[in-house]
Symmetry: C2
Subunit: 403 residues, 2 copies
């Protein structure tokens, strides 16, 4: 679905979008740190945000924009999260919005604001202002890579993707950039995910589609995510593709939603695999549940267990820790019916361990990508949760004293 060329184009792959990333001196590293994404044709907008009661100032500002259902632009910075910054932080987030709106010639309510980086520090507003002006000047149809690099923090690489699909006889394109990693380094704030599409779709339906998609993609990463102070996923849909406008939940809507889901699941896997200090990418696949919610709860319980994560770091096929985390998830289950496999090899059944060939299982455990499958044998619903292991490097990164 993703060609390398289109993936590089990211958020500028859909028609009518421009982007830029510039160096404004907010990151200590001197790397790119201010991004702008813009569509001249006004777009429908939808967003999902952190549920953390300690939400950062840009989250408050952007929620108000999403409530209007339309927008022209996203402005974001990395290096400083503008979180836990009190009244001054709210003022600064509003100022970012105004600077971008003035430079782009649109209204305040047309500009989404995002920030990520260190918590508890005020934005250096002089640098931010210069950065936004420079980014607006640099806007281009080739700017997605720079924009993607300008929003990363401790990520080891920028995450981007693009895809297209036929809707109503027209090619509809989607692009995405995202940053993660910080979820396991939350003095850095965490997930920013910006999606563009040239689909023509009603704003309320766009929100419904995004909310459902995020629940099945970004919210399935265990080192998540709705916990950080700054998380947001935003989609802009500018209608430039010229498809018949999607105004009801018809086949076109389903096609749109499925394409968006695939795009966001692809990004979610990349984010999980790039967790700080991660040496393994682990998919926890829970089957046989009574509901998706139950399957997700069990998967999250396993994926969030530091004991499961350290076992995978040690390449230890410790099914006891997995079934223990299943048992305390809070979902009724019968330990005598539940089965667990690692890389397709049964390790737990009938209430106890299963004999396995040690060499074969060793091959599974030493691989970078590992699939843990848990079958509750209690229904037909399922869920996949993505996570990473828990290494010395994790403790090192997070135990370092930065002042």
């Amino acid at each position: 679905m993703f060609s390398e060329a289109s993936a590089k184009m990211g958020v500028t792959y859909p028609k009518g979008f421009q982007a830029a990333g510039v160096k404004a001196g907010i990151k200590k590293s001197g790397n790119l740190d201010v991004a702008v994404i813009y569509t001249e044709k006004k777009a429908a907008v939808a967003g999902t945000f952190t549920k953390n009661a300690v939400a950062a100032a840009p989250v408050h500002v952007s929620k108000a924009v999403v409530a209007t259902h339309t927008a022209h632009a996203i402005v974001a910075n990395a290096g400083c999260a503008n979180a836990c910054t009190g009244a001054q932080g709210e003022t600064d987030a509003a100022a970012m919005q105004k600077i971008a709106a003035d430079a782009l010639g649109c209204t305040l309510a047309d500009v989404i604001v995002g920030s990520t980086g260190i918590i508890g520090q005020l934005l250096p507003m002089d640098k931010v202002e210069q950065g936004i002006h420079a980014a607006v000047k640099a806007l281009s149809a080739d700017g997605s890579v720079d924009a993607g690099n300008a929003i990363i923090t401790t990520d080891t690489y920028s995450k981007a993707g693009a895809t297209s699909v036929m809707i109503g006889g027209k090619e509809v394109r989607f692009g995405i950039i995202a940053k993660g990693s910080g979820m396991i380094r939350p003095d850095m704030a965490t997930v920013l995910c910006f999606i563009t599409t040239d689909a023509d779709i009603d704003g309320v339906l766009l929100q419904e589609a995004l909310s459902e998609v995020i629940e099945h993609s970004l919210n399935m990463i265990s080192i998540d995510g709705d916990m950080s102070t700054n998380d947001m996923a935003i989609v802009l849909a500018n209608g430039a593709a010229g498809n018949p406008k999607i105004t009801e939940k018809n086949a076109d809507y389903e096609t749109f939603k499925e394409t968006l889901l695939a795009l966001c699941q692809g990004i979610s896997e990349k984010i999980a695999a790039d967790g700080e200090g991660a040496t393994k990418f682990i998919t926890v696949h829970v089957k046989g549940a009574k509901s998706f919610a139950d399957a997700k709860t069990v998967g999250m319980s396993v994926a969030n267990s530091p004991l499961v994560k350290t076992a995978f770091f040690g390449e230890d096929p410790n099914w006891g820790r997995v079934i223990c985390a299943v048992g305390y998830a809070g979902v009724p289950m019968n330990p005598n019916h539940t089965t667990v496999t690692f890389g397709g090899i049964p390790v737990y059944a009938d209430g106890t361990g299963v004999s396995y060939d040690a060499d074969t299982l060793r091959t599974v455990m030493t691989a970078h990508d590992i699939v843990v499958e848990i079958d509750l044998k209690d229904g037909t619903e399922e869920a996949k949760v993505w996570t990473c292991d828990f290494s010395y490097e994790y403790v090192k990164i997070n135990g370092e004293y930065h002042t």
Copy 2:
């Protein structure tokens, strides 16, 4: 409250109790691994157990004993948890009960059974049988230290305590032994806590008191706990003190419950401080909550955060991680009213960081014992949660591959 001498006597400090611990060869180390606690005078019994759906076989056996409200003995082993052992595990737990009952001359329903150690392995029943016989022969009023050492696994020391209080003109004694540590090494199973008292108290009231006390003591340890497969806290009350029998919730009941609470809170602090790989003992004190449940939820959210725990390991006064964990706890809170102090020094207020003297705070962070106080300013209820930090050693211990 605790004298060194009475603490050493532990579960044999109350009148009429005997105990023993012997080496049965179940632990690879060859250390003490089978314990028996016995009261000739039949005791009221109460218990609280893991809520994990994957409960171990001895938990099922002991729940049935507690349902009868009376018991004579506890038999326990370390080195093998008899968890995830299927039908054979249930048979073996029942056999442990029968062997002990026959040796002590009481009925099956008089014997509580506990196990702790490696999950997924069958008990070596020949060794267990010999061990129980040897322990019954060794029963004495000086046996508590041996019994305490026979139930530990990766604990660096055995936890014990004792206290006494006047009830109805009579001295009523309490003793306790417990093992923890395994909560952060759950291929070893976790908390066993055995309490004796010579109080005379109705069995139903005893259960009510124990349930309330455990909720405010052992269940306040973050690296807990109702998650493991084998957790149990048991109290035997044999009435040998001769106090007027407690049959209603009068002043005597309150005195009994408060004494039991102090005993169990003391043990809980010891268990938290002895977490595997721990270099810090952290008390998270949440104040100003609408309810105890809210305060506990917030405290657990902070105490369970790997990011908070690694920050304390790094002696980093990272209030951002603390307030972030408060924010995602799920309890409504206002970040602008909430305050956070480390060792009494304000670090967060009015929605942002507070200036502090770096040297003074450094003294707080480099100490072994650290108190984090969070005031939600939203009510009058409070809770204390005990935890430890999260070190390289933790990853090392739990990432090692044991076969």
